[in-house]
Subunit: 372 residues, 2 copies
């Protein structure tokens, strides 16, 4: 299977889907609270118990203010100006649970909401809002032992500059000085970067909570930048995996194995990624089946049994997406792989689209299955 056909699949599955849920309550509940991702002390944006979002932006002399979140056909939520110079508006319907990127158009220019924290997506730092999810407990910051997320700068001859990665080490890593750990290499999506999985994804908190509940083996997670050849959106078919594969396999993995207490072998090394990161995972695991023992594609394509033929057999293939993406393809892939004798698991995140709650949940489902 060529990169082109992989890419075609990913593009097909990642077409933007409206973030609106289908239900339309008759009355908007006036129990709005600041989004959990607001900058310190900021009252807006707000979210209510039904999942509506309300925005408020100060721009007293502006002629038009619009927020990019909202019904696709209308291009977002149009805010209305009050006598006090604040522009206010509420989404026309409830949003999907979880994390959403957005931006604000002020008189034709694209800016961020000064009330919200920023997250790197769409090749820019975007505003982020969190619609409280009914299952948010699994990624909540709790009073449990916490692992660390550390920024490393690793040498990269192939790109001629030290490169950044983030490494999650599980609770106890610093104290249990002789223990060695398996490693998951976990990739972000198109337009994002190596900050996404911990900032938007809460990968560290998901792991801390799973480990505290005894539901997963402690392991290390390594997250680095995967857009080494600056793919433009819409041109993802032109993506060449070679550059990133060299950085990951020939430079990052040896550095991590030399500088962290890893179990440095195939059966203790996994690769997974979301969206474009899934495309990368598929390409690299098929090119280097001797390097990784566990594969995960999160809203990022599928494996067919023939992809894996005549290669070192993976110990697990995990394939997932949101129910608003293409769950049939994901489920069929796992069924086909199982029929062909592979250990394959599919997971469909309920009522979510191509967004981060799908991927938080996917990590939460996948982690307990790794390194068994």
């Amino acid at each position: 299977m060529t990169i082109k056909s992989i890419a075609a699949f990913v593009v097909a599955t990642t077409i933007s889907i409206s973030s609106f849920s289908q239900s339309s309550p008759t009355a908007v509940a006036e129990d709005f609270k600041p989004s959990s991702l607001n900058q310190p002390g900021q009252e807006y944006p707000q979210v209510n118990s039904q999942g509506y979002a309300r925005f408020r932006i100060f721009a007293p002399k502006a002629d038009s203010v619009k927020v990019s979140l909202g019904l696709g056909g209308r291009g977002g939520t149009i805010l209305k100006k009050g006598a006090d110079g604040y522009w206010t508006g509420t989404t026309e319907g409830p949003m999907d649970e979880g994390f959403h990127y957005y931006n604000v158009t002020i008189d034709g220019g694209k800016f961020n909401d000064p009330g919200a924290k920023n997250y790197y997506g769409s090749v820019r730092w975007e505003s982020g809002i969190e619609i409280t999810a009914h299952d948010q407990d699994f990624y909540a910051l709790k009073d449990v032992p916490h692992g660390n997320v550390q920024q490393i700068l690793f040498p990269s001859k192939s790109t001629g500059t030290p490169r950044r990665a983030f490494v999650y080490t599980p609770p106890g890593y610093e104290k249990e000085k002789s223990k060695k750990y398996p490693v998951l290499y976990l990739q972000h999506g198109w337009g994002e970067d190596e900050t996404a999985w911990s900032n938007q994804g809460h990968a560290n908190l998901i792991m801390d909570n799973l480990i505290a509940e005894g539901k997963t083996k402690p392991f290390i997670i390594v997250m680095t930048y995967g857009m080494t050849n600056e793919v433009k959106w819409g041109k993802i078919r032109d993506f060449k995996i070679d550059g990133f594969q060299t950085v990951l396999v020939d430079e990052l993995i040896p550095y991590v194995d030399a500088n962290f207490r890893t179990m440095a072998n195939r059966d203790n090394r996994a690769m997974a990624g979301l969206s474009m990161g899934g495309m990368e995972t598929k390409a690299i695991t098929l090119n280097k089946p001797e390097v990784f023992g566990y594969y995960g594609l999160l809203s990022g394509g599928v494996y067919a049994p023939e992809d894996l033929k005549d290669k070192a057999k993976p110990k697990l293939v995990f394939i997932s997406c949101g129910s608003k993406e293409r769950p049939d393809g994901v489920n069929k892939s796992a069924t086909d792989l199982k029929a062909a004798g592979y250990n394959a698991v599919s997971y469909v995140s309920d009522k979510t689209a191509h967004e981060f709650l799908t991927w938080r949940r996917s990590l939460h489902e996948m982690a307990p299955l790794l390194f068994k």
Copy 2:
């Protein structure tokens, strides 16, 4: 000396000073290049070889666009609209070298420049620009061994929530498994947070470079959030140190000593801070002289000999500021302390004000003097 009088001093030294240098070249050199802090692929803001900054913002239907950086009296740099919908403007004079926070006012509302990365200052994520400094090499990302910066979440009974800190571990920390290190607790300023010293300050790169040149002993740096009681600017006199002192001394230090390979004693523990962080450093080192052996105030007040009387003697007092702040006070403090028998060093950063280049340089000067 009371917190009130300390605070009064800090306020007096931190009055905002224009970031403009005094020289006024006759012609603006047309050699503008993107600021090193721009978001990936963004051409603006730009900086020229003389230190002028040029801004370019797309807002085709706006009536006025202004950038907060510029001559104080004029309230910044007013941009002019072009036929293409872009607003452009250049600072009226060259800026001081180094890092500056700024924001953009669009039709009366305050936003960030979509071209620039954001940095937490003034209790919000602000745009940042870097005016190339003649001595930038000491904080450049080079091909030398790099330490890591890791996010830790430590338990805090006094505040009822796990709290975040960043920990710099020097190159080799992961490999030299039995080596123990001294620790510097390093505080940000008012309106900033625990991200400031590594994001704006490049503390990790300054240390990596110093260590590579053999100029400083490798040590750990711990950076946490110091605004535990949400001081409002202008109300810094009301700051109570107790809350933060408890977090730092009773919660964070024991956690760091239990989870990192530290030399857990006074002679191997330093505290320093910039601006409000200096005020905190002074208060806590005087309250807890048995905990810290080295003190550093960076644009954050001074010690008088009588402050230190009848307490465990510090091994070093380091006091610094920019030449555009109050260098006389800083130099006098060191002179007085030396006359009274203390090991005191003052440092004045040339042609800088109450901004991050002063503090990058101060760390660069202070680090080699610690733990000797």
